[in-house]
Every structure is written in structure tokens, then in C-alpha cells.
């Protein structure tokens, strides 16, 4: 009599168990990542709510959110975001084009590599912010110098990523190109660039991250609009909520643009037969 019940239970349970983990695991991962920031935010909100802190230097989330909506309502926010996005976009485009071209050339032609790479590596060793005074002298205080600075930041990871990846492309695949008499730009276009595409996407994402970093530097130096300007303005007028608002928007934009690259690249990477894919599928 006692043994009957467990046997019956066992037959029905596995079916439910099989369905539950798949539903759980789909949401559990992202949800788990939210636990810490949400707890901190709610916690701080409560601390200010109860009056344990006045929240003047560290404003609670509600005040940051209020600042954002206020900026949005006055149209300020759109103007600042547009200015920053425009700078990042242009700087990223220039940096990617230059980095891809030079990276591909010095990855493919060893003569070009020996000629070019030492100089590029030496330039890379310079902290990029050291260029700021020079760029301002050369290109003026307005947009050009800012975009140039961002482009420099984007250039190096893309250049290194493309060159490094080309150097380790499987010789056997390159030989296939050779047997079909490919060389020069045809070899780069039809064999080398597709082969390095996964690594290329990674270096684009690293480059974009640096682009966002450098746009802040550029806008802190001298700008009348842009999210970096909001940061500086908030500091000078003692408005920490505005600084935090700008930081939050930076985080959202950075994540969003990174995600855009990932999504845009995904259709071109479906061929991959790799560890990461198996996990995602």
C-alpha cells in the first residue's frame, strides 16, 4: 500500500519536469542578472524615501528618471542624443573603414605589414587622449577634432582584429583560393574577409565600445551639446541627477548599438560550426 503512491507519482512527474526547465532557463538567465541592480536601486530608493539619506549627491532612481523625462519633454534630450550619436556614428565609420583597409592590407601582404605595422603599433602605444591638444590645434575645437578622436579610438581594435585574424586563417582554405587563381583583392574579398568575419564582428564591437568611451572624452573637452556636455553641465551646476541621467542613457545607447551590430551580423554568421552556437541553439 505504501509503495503504490510513489510509483504513480513517478510516471506523471518526468513529463512536467521536462517542460518546466526549458521555460525556466529561458527567463532565469536574464532575470538573474537583474537581481543585483534592481535590489540596489529599490534599496536606495527606500533609503531616501524613509529619509535616512537626503539623496542630494546620490539621487534615487525616481529623481534620475524624472530628470530624464524632463529633458525629454523639453526636447533637450533628443538634441543631445542626436549630437552624440552623430559623432559616434561618423567617427566609428571612419575608424572602421581605415582599420579594415589597413588591417586587411597588412594582414595579406607581408611587405606592407613590415612597413606599416611597427608604426601603427607605436602609435597605438600612445594614450589616445594625448592626441586631443594636437587635434584641437589642427582641426579646430568643433566637430572635426571630436570625430577624429573617436575614429582613432575605433581604428586600433579594428585594425588589430582584422590583421591578427587574417594571419591565422587556415592555410588550407587559402590554398583553395590559390587553386582557383585568386590573389590580391580577390583573395581578400572571397577568402580572407569571410574567414575572419566572426573575429571581425568582435573587433567591431570592441571598436564601438571605444568609440563611446572617446565620445565622452571629446565632449568633456568642449562641446555645447551632447551627452558628454550634459555630464559636464551637471558637474558644474551641481546636478548629480543630470549626470546620472546622462550615464544611464550612455549605458542604454552603448548596449543598444552593440546589440545592433550583433543582430546585423547574425545572418552572416549562421554558417559557424562553433562552441558558442551550440549553446545558443
Amino acid at each position: 500500500m505504501i509503495s503504490d503512491a510513489p510509483v504513480l507519482q513517478q510516471t506523471s512527474e518526468p513529463a512536467e519536469r521536462a517542460a518546466a526547465p526549458s521555460r525556466l532557463s529561458r527567463y532565469a538567465g536574464p532575470a538573474l542578472g537583474l537581481v543585483l541592480p534592481v535590489t540596489l536601486a529599490v534599496g536606495w530608493e527606500l533609503v531616501v524615501w524613509f529619509g535616512w539619506s537626503n539623496g542630494r549627491l546620490v539621487p534615487p532612481p525616481s529623481r534620475v528618471f524624472a530628470t530624464i523625462t524632463e529633458l525629454a519633454r523639453s526636447g533637450e534630450l533628443v538634441r543631445h542624443i542626436a549630437a552624440t550619436l552623430w559623432r559616434v556614428g561618423l567617427g566609428f565609420a571612419f575608424g572602421v573603414v581605415a582599420g579594415t583597409l589597413l588591417g586587411a592590407i597588412s594582414g595579406y601582404w607581408s611587405l606592407a605589414r613590415r612597413l606599416l605595422d611597427p608604426t601603427v603599433q607605436a602609435l597605438r602605444a600612445i594614450p589616445s587622449l594625448a592626441w586631443v591638444p594636437l587635434f584641437i590645434l589642427w582641426l579646430g575645437i568643433f566637430e572635426t577634432s571630436k570625430i577624429a578622436l573617436i575614429a582613432v579610438g575605433v581604428f586600433f581594435p579594428v585594425y588589430l582584429g582584422v590583421m591578427g585574424a587574417i594571419l591565422i586563417v587556415d592555410r588550407k582554405i587559402v590554398e583553395v583560393g590559390r587553386t582557383f587563381r585568386l590573389s590580391g583583392f580577390a583573395m581578400i574579398r572571397r577568402i580572407l574577409l569571410p574567414a575572419v568575419l566572426p573575429a571581425y564582428v568582435v573587433s567591431l564591437r570592441v571598436g564601438l565600445g571605444l568609440g563611446w568611451m572617446f565620445v565622452v572624452a571629446a565632449e568633456l573637452i568642449g562641446a555645447s551639446e551632447g551627452l558628454g556636455y550634459l555630464l559636464l553641465d551637471g558637474q558644474q551646476l551641481g546636478k548629480p541627477a543630470q549626470i546620472l541621467a546622462a550615464i544611464v542613457i550612455f549605458a542604454i545607447l552603448g548596449k543598444l548599438t552593440d546589440w545592433l551590430i550583433e543582430v546585423a551580423a547574425a545572418p552572416f554568421l549562421r554558417w559557424q560550426d562553433a562552441f558558442g552556437r551550440a549553446k545558443g541553439a
Binding site: 588550407k172 582554405i173 590554398e175 587563381r181 549562421r270 554558417w271
Partner: protein, 261 residues
């Protein structure tokens, strides 16, 4: 005609891989090159393909010297070497980039059907089995209709059943346009099934040791006594090329000896 004249290859480290190899290969002939490891078989094939230059000597195809990959010479490697980012159809069409798209699609579709993979046209290479992938590689090499097709141990990574299957399939495809086939192999069975002539090479330095004409009609019966005879003479020649004493080969050979290393 493909003429190899005193082809030698010495690597920069001083090792001589190939010494004065000469042979004339008729258009449409199937030649198998067999020999112990380090006898320069692959070096020779790569020189014919124009992938590596010979240190001295010449390779000429129809009186044209070959020093770099040539449109009339195709090659199939031991691994399929498909481009993983292209679909099966695009892999097969890889060598047809200069053709208009319509014509290319047509040729690719015909080649796919010919190798029995029409339903895999849009598959990725990673979705193919080893035998299927090698069939795609064969189609890719054949679709530009080369005069000479080089094969570097093309079936050695496949299981015995698939290997036989592909050997028969290769002969079937060969009959379409009858290109010259030059096949490097370790497998005596494979050499005798496929070749009109077996070239036996001798190592250190690699050079031609012996030639055996396989005067058997096609299709060849792998179990016929005549087939066994040819296999035995190739094996004997191989043993002599390595200065081994020739054991008394009787009819009770183990199956392991068919695959000669």
C-alpha cells in the same frame, strides 16, 4: 599531354623531397602514384598543381609551363576544404565566378544532381557527412571542366564503405569528360581499381621506381583473380622500393594488406 621532366624539389632545410622525376601522362589517362611515406608523392602533386614550385625541372601541360595554379588543372585534397561560409551550391560554383549568374546556377545545379546532392544545395558544409563533403569537393573541382584533375589521397579519411562508393562515383564522373586524373594514394586497392597505370615511388630522395600498367577493363571486379594479380604485383614492387625482402605472397593474404602504408 602532361609532361614532367626531371622535376626536383629541395626544401630550404636541405631535405631533398623529389629527385629528377620524369613521366609523360596522356590526356584522359588515370595515373595512381603510390609509395612509402616521405617519397615525395604530395610534393610532386603540389608541383603539378602549381602550388609549390619545383627547385628544378619542368611541368608542362600541352606545351605550357606550369609555375602557378592553372585554369586547366583542378585539385582535390585529402580534406574536402569546403568554404564554411558558403552554401553547398556556392561552394561548387566557387570556381565559376566569371560566368554569368544564370549559366553558373545551371552548371551548379547539374553538378549537384550529378553527385547526388541536389537536396543539399542550400545546406551549410557543417551539415554534411564526410563522404558528402568530399563529393561536394569533387563537384567543385570538376565543374570548371579541368583537363587535369589532381587528387591527394582524396578518400583516405573516409570509412571503407564510403571509400568504395566514392571510387566508383569518381570513375563515373570521369567518364563524362575524361579528364586526366593523377591520384596520390596509400591504398593499393584504390590504385588498382582506378588507375590505367600505377607509378611506384621510392623514398629518400623521392623518385620514380617502377611503373605498372593495369590492363583491366572497366568496371573492375575487386574480387576477380586478375585484380588480385595486379594488386600483388603493385605490392611486390612497393616492397622492393623499400628494399624489403619480398615475402611469399600466397592467396591467403589478410585483408589488412590491401591498405598499404
Amino acid at each position: 599531354m602532361l609532361a614532367l621532366e626531371r622535376v626536383s624539389k629541395t626544401y630550404p632545410n636541405g631535405a631533398q623531397a623529389l629527385a629528377r622525376f620524369s613521366a609523360d601522362i596522356r590526356q584522359g589517362e588515370i595515373v595512381a602514384i603510390i609509395g612509402g611515406s616521405g617519397c615525395g608523392k604530395s610534393t610532386l602533386l603540389r608541383a603539378i598543381a602549381g602550388l609549390d614550385r619545383a627547385s628544378s625541372g619542368t611541368v608542362t601541360l600541352d606545351d605550357e609551363a606550369i609555375a602557378s595554379p592553372h585554369a586547366k588543372i583542378g585539385i582535390i585534397f585529402q580534406e574536402p576544404r569546403l568554404l564554411p561560409w558558403l552554401s553547398v551550391a556556392d561552394n561548387i560554383g566557387f570556381g565559376l565566378a566569371e560566368l554569368p549568374a544564370m549559366e553558373r546556377r545551371e552548371k551548379v545545379a547539374r553538378a549537384l544532381a550529378r553527385v547526388g546532392l541536389a537536396d543539399k544545395a542550400q545546406a551549410w558544409p557543417r551539415e554534411l557527412s564526410g563522404g558528402q563533403a568530399q563529393r561536394v569537393a569533387i563537384a567543385r573541382a570538376l565543374v570548371p571542366q579541368p583537363e587535369v584533375l589532381l587528387l591527394d589521397e582524396p578518400f583516405s579519411a573516409l570509412d571503407a564503405f564510403t571509400r568504395r562508393d566514392l571510387q566508383d562515383h569518381l570513375l563515373d564522373l570521369w567518364a563524362d569528360t575524361r579528364p586526366t586524373l593523377i591520384l596520390v594514394t596509400h591504398d593499393v586497392d584504390e590504385a588498382v581499381v582506378l588507375a590505367d597505370r600505377v607509378l611506384v615511388m621510392r623514398p629518400r630522395p623521392g623518385r620514380l621506381f617502377d611503373q605498372i600498367e593495369i590492363n583491366l577493363g572497366r568496371p573492375r571486379d575487386r574480387n576477380s583473380p586478375l585484380f588480385e594479380n595486379f594488386k600483388r604485383s603493385v605490392l611486390t614492387s612497393l616492397d622492393r622500393s623499400l628494399d624489403r625482402s619480398v615475402p611469399d605472397r600466397d592467396a591467403t593474404q589478410g585483408p589488412g594488406q590491401a591498405m598499404w602504408w
